[in-house]
């Protein structure tokens, strides 16, 4: 909000306060309360549209939506709730940083909240998508500023976030430079032309040539 508008609002509030002081109404905060009460609500698109857009069947969408709506009755997840939920799965460590990156990856329209469409679209890619799509999604996750290149700093952030989820009590003990070393290994593998960044093509190429990665992409097919 612009400065002028803010100043005007503050002045109005002060005048109201003086008025109330003199006339002595007891319900001083009623006006402000009303502004905050109208909660955000979101209704998803119809079932047919979602069926067309994603690779889930009708029944699966129904189950997904029920779970989603149960947890978030207002229909959207904001980042704090998302971090909360994700942290529940990793009690020993701090999953908030990684959850932040994950949230950005799911929030494709970047409006600050994950609606059911975002949720289901992301899941559709992860669970029912082709290998290409999945790798694309992973690249998108790593590319924090979405500029098409993964730099070492971005990768380091991601790596630190992942290692943070492990927490303190690990074996062997987590050392300060472990994430950095891991990033080095990653870049050695992925960065073909050694220009210090990883592009999408390098990434997909490299992953497709790696047995382990290919196999692990198929791991979570049957989650729903």
């Amino acid at each position: 909000m612009s400065c002028r508008k803010r100043c005007k609002r503050e002045f109005l509030k002060f005048a109201q306060y003086l008025f109330r002081l003199i006339t002595g109404t007891l319900n001083a905060d009623s006006v402000e309360d009303e502004l905050e009460l109208s909660a955000v609500r979101h209704r998803p698109e119809g079932l047919e549209q979602l069926e067309a857009q994603t690779r889930f069947s009708r029944k699966e969408l129904q189950i997904l939506y029920r779970g989603f709506k149960n947890e978030c009755p207002s229909g959207v997840v904001n980042e704090d709730t998302f971090k909360d939920i994700y942290s529940q799965f990793f009690p020993q460590g701090d999953a908030s940083t990684y959850a932040h990156f994950l949230f950005n990856a799911f929030d494709t329209d970047h409006d600050g909240s994950v609606s059911f469409e975002d949720f289901v679209t992301g899941l559709s890619i992860l669970l029912r998508g082709t290998v290409q799509e999945k790798l694309n999604w992973a690249f998108n996750l790593y590319d924090i500023n979405k500029d098409g290149y993964i730099t070492k700093e971005e990768m380091l952030d991601i790596m630190k976030a992942i290692y943070n989820m492990m927490g303190k009590c690990t074996y062997p003990i987590l050392k300060e430079e472990t994430p950095r070393q891991h990033v080095e290994i990653f870049f050695q593998k992925m960065d073909k032309n050694k220009d210090g960044v990883v592009t999408i093509d390098e990434f997909i190429d490299c992953c497709q040539n790696d047995e382990n990665i290919m196999r692990s992409m198929q791991l979570f097919e049957n989650v729903i």
Partner: protein, 629 residues
């Protein structure tokens, strides 16, 4: 982990794909999904109200009844649903817990009913949501207090005379004066003397007309001897009481520390100190001050008055409010006194000579007393004086309702406890009457059907046939059970009047010999005791088994009344005096009974008494009856 979050697990697993490209080691194989069943609706029929939910919802909490296999016990095949015979209103909250993950406590429900339902469904109350937890805890505490109260009372009343030592009974007499007449007398006597002592202290100072000198004398000086004797008497009584309490106290150290004992000591100390110090003139000034402490005797009344105790307890529990009141008052007094002093400094002949002097004015004004001995004269002083009096009203009025509400709550609580105690007696009496109705049903059943002429089995059949029209299955089975008990112990149940009449009659001809071990083969007309049979082994029945009929019949315990003759018409009973012929069919009184200490087991075979009737009825006849109420 909150079970609601379990719904997000598939998502978290899917998002794990983000780790794959950077993984340093190959991933473990995923777990096999053993049963990939579709989610289905489960119908829960709770006393007719049908609730439906997904199975996954219930299985979020696998350590509760509904979430585990325990619910299979309640599965009803015909209707393909789970049936629970519980309260549907409370079940609603329990099901909501599965749905939302939060357990709420409805305010209008009874706390014990709610707790029972929670226990039944295997849900721990600690997960009640914050919104309802406080209310739940409060209600639970109240309930626990009430139960504790009742238990204390019961324990207090149940202890019988025989169990206490002298010391314990003395202490009990002191603490609960209504337990015995002696205690009551003592209680009233001490109360009277407290009153007398306090009145004497008061009257002592009243001017009593001129004495030998032409000077007004107080009554105390005029009738010094009389007052001294009165004082001595009171102090002696108080001393004796204190010493007795000290001796009787279960924990002397705790007693000495208690408030009441300190009051006792302070009440009688001045007298003794006065005795010691009468000669010393220079300390007589201090002695006079000491007499002030005699007024503490009035606090001894708090033992006699529950209201006083409640007041004291309230003040103790409101200590923080009182402290706050005092503190805020002090602050206001200092502020206003300073202001008034400086405001009135200008005017001459002002009474406000210093700030402490202004304290008096401030206190008098704030408490709206307004003596008028100090008044401000300047205009500024008057303005601030009025502000002072207005604020005084506010400052005092604010903490007072807190104290008042506290007092009211504690007072009503004690009132309720008293009322409950009073009602309890009537309630118990009514319950006992209802219960004895049930016992009488059995006796009625016996008379109707059981004591029949025919074989025992047949008689039972007949009895059952007679009564099964009237009684439901439960009753017949219950009667059968009681009958089995009779057979086991070889005693029979009778009703109250019969027992009491038998007791009275027995007491009239109470034999000096009594034990069952005495063997006498000849039928003894009047002995109510004894096993007349020689070969019987004595059957020692401890007192506790004969609980029912023991009312007031402690002395009858040693008397035994045995019917050695069969019940048949041709009965030649031993104790013709006591005989009440029980006809073979029906409606007459069953045997007289008496509680016994030991009795012989009647033989299963025919008795030696050589009585004719060897009918199976005889089996019953040899039984020594015991009243069973």
């Amino acid at each position: 982990m909150a079970a609601g979050v379990a719904a997000w697990l598939p998502f978290a697993r899917a998002a794990a794909i983000g780790w794959m490209p950077v993984a340093s080691a190959p991933m473990p194989p995923p777990p096999r999904d053993k049963r990939h069943t579709r989610d289905e609706l489960i119908i829960l029929n709770v006393s007719g109200s049908r609730f439906q939910t997904w199975r996954n919802t219930l299985e979020r909490y696998p350590d509760t009844l509904l979430g585990s296999t325990e619910r299979d016990f309640f599965y009803h095949e015909e209707t393909n649903e789970y049936f629970f015979d519980r309260d549907p209103d409370i079940f609603r909250h329990i099901l909501n817990f599965y749905r939302t993950g939060k357990l709420h406590y409805p305010r209008h429900e009874c706390i014990s009913a709610y707790d029972e339902e929670l226990a039944f469904f295997g849900i721990i109350p600690e997960i009640i949501g914050d919104c309802c937890y406080e209310e739940y805890k409060d209600r639970r505490r109240e309930n626990a207090e009430r139960i504790q109260d009742d238990e204390d009372n019961e324990n207090g009343n149940d202890v019988t005379q025989l169990d206490l030592t002298i010391r314990q009974s003395m202490w009990r007499a002191f603490e609960n004066p209504h337990t015995s007449t002696m205690a009551l007398v003592f209680y009233y006597v001490t109360g009277f003397f407290i009153a007398v002592s306090v009145m004497a202290n008061v009257v002592e100072t009243v001017p009593c007309g001129t004495g030998s000198r032409a000077k007004e004398m107080s009554c105390g000086e005029r009738y010094a001897l009389a007052f001294f004797c009165l004082d001595t008497a009171c102090v002696m009584i108080f001393t004796v009481e204190y010493l007795l309490r000290l001796i009787a106290a279960p924990s002397r150290y705790k007693f000495v520390k208690s408030v009441m004992s300190i009051i006792d000591v302070v009440a009688i100390m001045p007298y003794y100190i006065g005795l010691v110090m009468t000669d010393n003139e220079d300390v007589s000034g201090a002695f006079v001050t000491l007499r002030v402490f005699r007024v503490f005797r009035i606090f001894k009344f708090s033992r006699h008055s529950a209201g006083l105790r409640i007041l004291g307890y309230t003040l103790k529990s409101c200590a923080s409010e009182l402290g706050f009141l005092l503190f805020s008052l002090t602050m206001a007094i200092i502020i206003f006194a300073t202001v008034m002093f400086y405001a009135e400094k200008g005017s001459n002949s002002s009474k406000f000579t210093s700030i402490p002097a202004a304290f008096w004015y401030t206190i008098v004004t704030m408490t709206t007393l307004g003596y008028g001995d100090m008044v401000p004269k300047t205009i500024v002083g008057k303005v601030f004086g009025s502000i002072c009096s207005l604020s005084g009203v506010l400052v005092i009025a604010l903490p007072v309702p807190v104290i008042v509400s506290n007092f009211s709550r504690i007072y009503h609580q004690s009132q309720r406890a008293e009322k409950r105690r009073a009602q309890k007696k009537t309630r118990l009496a009514r319950i006992r009457a209802a219960k004895s109705g049930g016992a009488n049903a059995y006796l009625q059943y016996k008379r109707n059907g059981l004591l029949a002429d025919a074989e025992e089995e047949a008689s039972k059949e007949a009895g059952k046939a007679l009564v099964c029209k009237v009684n439901p299955t439960f009753e017949t089975q219950h009667h059968h059970l009681l009958h089995c008990l009779e057979k086991t112990t070889n005693h029979e149940f009778v009703d109250e009047q019969t027992y009491e009449t038998s007791c009275m009659e027995v007491s009239m001809v109470k034999p000096s010999t009594s034990r069952s071990s005495s063997v006498s083969s000849s039928p003894h007309g009047l002995t109510s005791c004894c096993s007349r049979r020689n070969k019987r082994k004595s059957f020692n029945v401890p007192n506790s088994n004969m609980t029912a009929g023991r009312r007031g019949s402690v002395q009858e315990l040693s008397t035994i009344q045995i019917r050695e003759r069969p019940l048949s018409n041709s009965r030649s009973s031993l104790n013709a005096k006591f005989e009440e012929t029980v006809p073979l069919n029906s409606e007459q009184q069953p045997y007289i009974t008496a509680a016994i200490i030991s009795m012989p087991t009647p033989p299963v075979t025919t008795p030696e008494g050589g009585d004719s009737a060897s009918s199976p009825d005889f089996l019953q006849s040899n039984i020594v009856r015991v009243s069973a109420l």
